[in-house]
């Protein structure tokens, strides 16, 4: 059976599993695995994983533009949990070139993609080239438009080493925001105090704002950009069957 088919089969098997069971499977299956921790609600993954295996690897992408509260939470996680925490930084020359050419707030006039590419994706890609698997805090309810179908395990074809397979786990995929917060409260997990100020989604300081009642959490990120339709997905027209 192919590796691709294995991902699909395992995803089906893990659909009813708890995030802890998915993490346990991930950590026991892969030695070269790390958790991506953004300094927000995904701290629940750090809490869960540290209870499964001491010294589990965790990495954070320090864009240089995070909130002070986020840096404090990252440091708190480093002190509180038995984890190997690695803070990743963007390439200084790339950041310097971007700022020299476009200033410190280019994302307000262009879009956030160039800045995020340099500050987040480039260091992420470099890190993922060293791993066989990684773990994210993505959930379906974060964006019904783009994340409704995210599996709990998938074949990451974007960041895999040439000719090799990279596996991506999304243990919280089937959890709601409410379930995440129930876990945080029940287990006294430290959390980012920005959440108490109305921040539902937390990213870089200039690109994140609190949202009001009834607003979706993604409305607090890059709010000046028009939501663009993702065209590259493959959609089956079931009405024609």
């Amino acid at each position: 059976m192919s590796e691709t088919l294995n991902h699909v089969d395992i995803n089906h098997k893990l659909q009813e599993s708890s995030p802890q069971e998915i993490l346990e499977y991930a950590i026991s299956t892969y030695d070269s695995i790390a958790i991506s921790f953004s300094g927000a609600e995904d701290i629940v993954l750090v809490d869960m994983a540290s209870k499964i295996k001491a010294g589990v690897r965790v990495f954070c992408l320090d864009t240089g533009r995070l909130h002070g509260e986020t840096y404090q939470l990252i440091e708190k996680a480093r002190q509180q949990y038995d984890i190997q925490l690695e803070v990743l930084f963007p390439d200084a020359n790339a950041v310097q070139k971007l700022v020299a050419e476009k200033g410190l707030y280019s994302f307000y006039t262009d879009n956030h993609q160039e800045c995020c590419g340099i500050r987040k994706v480039a260091p992420l890609r470099k890190k993922l080239l060293t791993l066989d698997a990684w773990v994210t805090g993505q959930r379906k309810d974060q964006n019904p438009g783009t994340r409704a179908e995210i599996p709990v395990i998938q074949n990451d074809r974007i960041f895999a080493r040439p000719g090799e397979t990279l596996t991506k786990f999304n243990p919280l995929a089937n959890w709601s925001s409410t379930e995440v917060w129930q876990y945080i409260r029940k287990n006294n997990v430290p959390y980012n105090p920005l959440h108490d100020q109305g921040f539902l989604s937390i990213g870089c300081e200039p690109c994140t704002k609190p949202v009001g009642p009834g607003q979706h959490e993604r409305e607090g990120r890059w709010w000046w950009e028009e939501a663009t339709k993702k065209e590259c997905g493959l959609h089956v027209d079931h009405s024609k069957k």
């Binding site: 699909v8 790339a94 590259c232 997905g233 089956v236 027209d237």
Partner: protein, 110 residues
Amino acid sequence: MKITFVKKILADGSPCKKCGEVADKLEKMGHMARIDETIIADERDSNSPGMLIAAKYNVERAPFFVIDKGEETPVIYTVFMKFLKEVLEQQTSEAEELKEIMKDNDLDFL
């Protein structure tokens, strides 16, 4: 090695914009001769050859490339720049690679 280029036709019958751009770039770079087969994933027909390949290998986006080296499982490339660099050995810039990754993928959770 067999390279298959899978292009998409949208549900409204129009061609996929990125598929056209990718085909143009392959042509301009002189790589079209390296493509052994081009097939269509027609969103209006789940039994179209490209849709069947996408379903078989669990590919959720197009365009994509299937690299068959005669091994059990072909390698699938959904990132054009990655395909250019790793398969066609075309030099690409990191800025171009990151731009494509950011444009086509939901990485906003980072």
